[in-house]
């Protein structure tokens, strides 16, 4: 069953008539995802490579039973698109759009939570359950089906790790890119929790990077709540110092947010951390082999 997306996903693509929207909607459909509808206001009745287009998400839900939405609209209209999807009863919203103002998300998130919906992203590559469904821009050909869950803040780095795993002969249950924006829907912990509960996931690879304290929090969560083994990779040991966010950032996290600090937090909870994507994949292969 994997997590977030799978065989029961019925996808509506918001912004389907745009260049990227139509390209990736078609690509997701061609992969095998059940892309049941697209939405672009004013274009109801059209088709995009055979996918019917509606004016509103509510219509797509009513006419086509959509239960998952992928948001591909420009950043200024993305918050509205997410509100519309959630208000229309869509349970899972995956927002690919990059460049959404953080205050829009700050305002939006409690609504998503209050309605019991799941939001992945924004500014994320989406989620892929190999062999079942691909929702987003993850290049699916890289990934094979298997029993390793993969979660990452970074898009392209996700693909890199996925490829390294594939090269090491390992496949994935689901690959989830949570996005690196200041306010995102699912966090590392939310996804780890789902992998922990997923019978098709035997091992998790977590891919973090410098900044914030999400990896530190995830380390604590892994230590306290997970029986599924986790292997990690952290990017940014050589990175130039990023935005400091005044003193406030450091005060909030109580952490330097450095790659080294994250690595130590994870290792302190028994999580092995690779020094390169290649090494992380090797560690995963070793851990997977030990599962018997």
């Amino acid at each position: 069953m994997a997590i977030l997306v799978g065989a029961d996903t019925r996808l509506v693509v918001q912004g389907i008539t745009g260049r990227e929207g139509s390209f990736h909607a078609t690509r997701n459909r061609d992969y095998g995802t059940d892309v049941v509808a697209g939405v672009t206001p004013g274009k109801a009745g059209q088709e995009v490579n055979g996918i019917p287009v509606f004016d509103t998400v509510a219509d797509a839900v009513r006419e086509r039973g959509a239960n998952t939405a992928m948001v591909f609209v420009p950043p200024r209209f993305a918050a509205d698109a997410i509100y519309e999807a959630v208000d229309s009863g869509v349970g899972t919203v995956i927002c690919i759009t990059e460049g959404i103002p953080a205050h829009d998300m700050l305002q939006l998130y409690p609504y998503v939570r209050a309605r019991g919906a799941t939001l992945l992203g924004p500014n994320c590559p989406g989620a892929l359950s190999p062999g079942a469904a691909n929702v987003g821009i993850i290049p699916a050909q890289v990934f094979g089906h298997g029993r390793i869950g993969l979660v990452s803040r970074s898009g392209t780095l996700t693909y890199q790790i996925g490829k390294e795993l594939a090269d090491a002969g390992l496949g994935n249950s689901t690959i989830v890119g949570i996005g690196g924006d200041p306010i995102v829907g699912l966090s590392f912990i939310d996804v780890l929790e789902r992998f922990e509960a997923d019978p098709e996931t035997d091992l998790v690879v977590m891919v973090g990077e410098i900044g914030g304290d999400e990896e530190e929090k995830a380390a604590a969560y892994i230590g306290e709540h997970m029986s599924t083994p986790v292997v990690a990779y952290i990017a940014g040991f050589q990175a130039p110092p990023g935005k400091t966010m005044g003193h406030a950032g450091a005060i909030i996290s109580g952490s330097a947010g450095t790659a080294q600090a994250k690595k130590e937090a994870l290792e302190g909870r028994g999580v092995r951390v690779g020094r390169s994507p290649t090494e992380a994949a090797q560690l995963a292969a070793e851990a997977f082999a030990q599962l018997g």
Binding site: P101, A102, L106, P139, L157, G249, T278
Partner: protein, 381 residues
């Protein structure tokens, strides 16, 4: 986008947060005139987007008009932690009884706004945070409620603000929150928030960061962007929408996506090389951006070899391949280039490169292999 102190204070004034009367100038002569106009001893403060100005000698005063001119002359052009002071801010010097600290920013983990207040403000705030964190009062603000008066009261009581200053402190917090929301700020920080001997509260400095993604809503703030303060390559990169940070090494690095580029730096370092830069062309880069990226990168004469590490998702490898070839042609590139393409349309991309096959272009199979190859080439050239 980080704002200079004087820009943050302009916004403070707009939202009714008390600041000292002042003026920004960019010549010593103007500094004298400004000091005369302000008609009182003034502070002369370097305007740079970095901390530690005081220790670096970037803050002088209280000063007379003569002294202000001399200080401005000393400060203008000064290098402070790699940032050149091109402007100074002059303001009436304040008598300081106490220094508080307040800030408003996102707490990413909580997905809420966090407002902090302490009476232990000033330059040692990070020390306070790590050694006596209980001295810093914090409240999370639910977007459902916004910042209510009770939030301000709770902060003030918890921070131990004296009763007679509560109304001022609560008012400043409420105004700062409004500024934060209405300007799409990522951070509004006042440190120090001073108390004068007369019991007046006033913002003596500002740290103000506005969300780049929201600048389209705030053309007045977008216009505050100071492109001249960036160095040549950084400006060119920003104008074309790519992210470039210069480093000290010899291996130029280009990739798509911050995570992958960071990882590439690490892997190059792990292979014994020294990264010359961080350069992210972002998602969905077209051939044009690739050319710009290469141009920016090659303007650094220390670069001896370039690693192009692209994993296509929304970016298409065939576009990247075309961009690389165009850049090689147009820019007359002499250093060796190692290209590694994977992901969307990678087969097409590799085919395009194989067909053109310029002599200094090397196609690598893996990221690790590419890193090892570029390090070898940088060392050898």
């Amino acid at each position: 986008m980080d704002l200079y102190e004087y820009q943050g204070k302009q916004l403070f004034s707009r939202f009714g947060i008390p600041v000292s009367d002042g003026q920004v100038v960019d010549t010593p002569e103007e500094a004298r005139e400004a000091a005369e106009r302000l008609g009182a001893p003034v502070m002369v403060k370097a305007q740079v987007l970095t901390g530690g100005r005081g220790k670096a000698g970037g803050i002088k005063g209280p000063a007379s008009p003569d002294e202000a001119e001399a200080h401005a002359r000393a400060i203008l052009g000064m290098d402070i932690n790699g940032h050149v002071a091109r402007r100074v801010w002059l303001e009436r010097a304040s008598d300081i009884e106490r220094e508080y600290y307040c800030s408003i920013t996102f707490d990413r983990g909580a997905k809420k706004t966090l407002v902090m207040l302490t009476t232990a403000g000033g330059i040692d705030i990070e020390e306070v945070a790590s050694e006596t964190p209980e001295r810093i009062a914090r409240v999370h603000v639910d977007p459902l409620t916004g910042f209510q008066p009770f939030h301000a009261r709770r902060l003030c009581y918890a921070a131990g603000i004296p009763a007679e200053e509560m109304r001022q402190a609560a008012d400043i917090l409420a105004r700062a929150y409004r500024a934060y929301v209405e300007t799409d700020a990522m951070l509004v920080e006042i440190n120090p928030l001073i108390v004068t001997p007369g019991g007046e509260l006033r913002a003596l400095d500002s740290k103000y960061t506005v969300d780049d993604n929201a600048l389209y809503k705030h053309p007045d703030i977008a216009a505050m962007r100071d492109l001249e303060a960036l160095d040549e390559q950084e400006r060119m990169a920003r104008e074309r929408g790519v992210t470039y940070v210069k480093l000290d090494g010899t291996v130029g690095i280009i990739g798509n996506g911050a995570g992958l580029v960071m990882s590439t730096l690490d892997v190059v370092a792990g292979a014994g090389g020294t990264p010359a830069n961080f350069l992210d062309v972002g998602g969905g880069a077209q051939a044009d951006e690739i050319v710009t990226a290469m141009e920016v990168l090659l303007s650094d004469s220390k670069v001896r070899a370039v690693l192009f590490n692209v994993f296509g998702g929304i970016t298409r490898c065939d576009e990247v391949a075309r961009g690389v070839l165009t850049a090689l042609e147009r820019l007359d590139v002499e250093v060796p280039i190692v290209v590694r393409l994977d992901g969307t349309n990678d087969v097409e991309g590799r085919a395009i490169l194989a067909e053109a096959a310029p002599p200094n272009l090397h196609v690598a199979e893996t990221m690790l292999g590419a890193a090892e190859q570029v390090v070898a080439l940088a060392g050898a050239s």
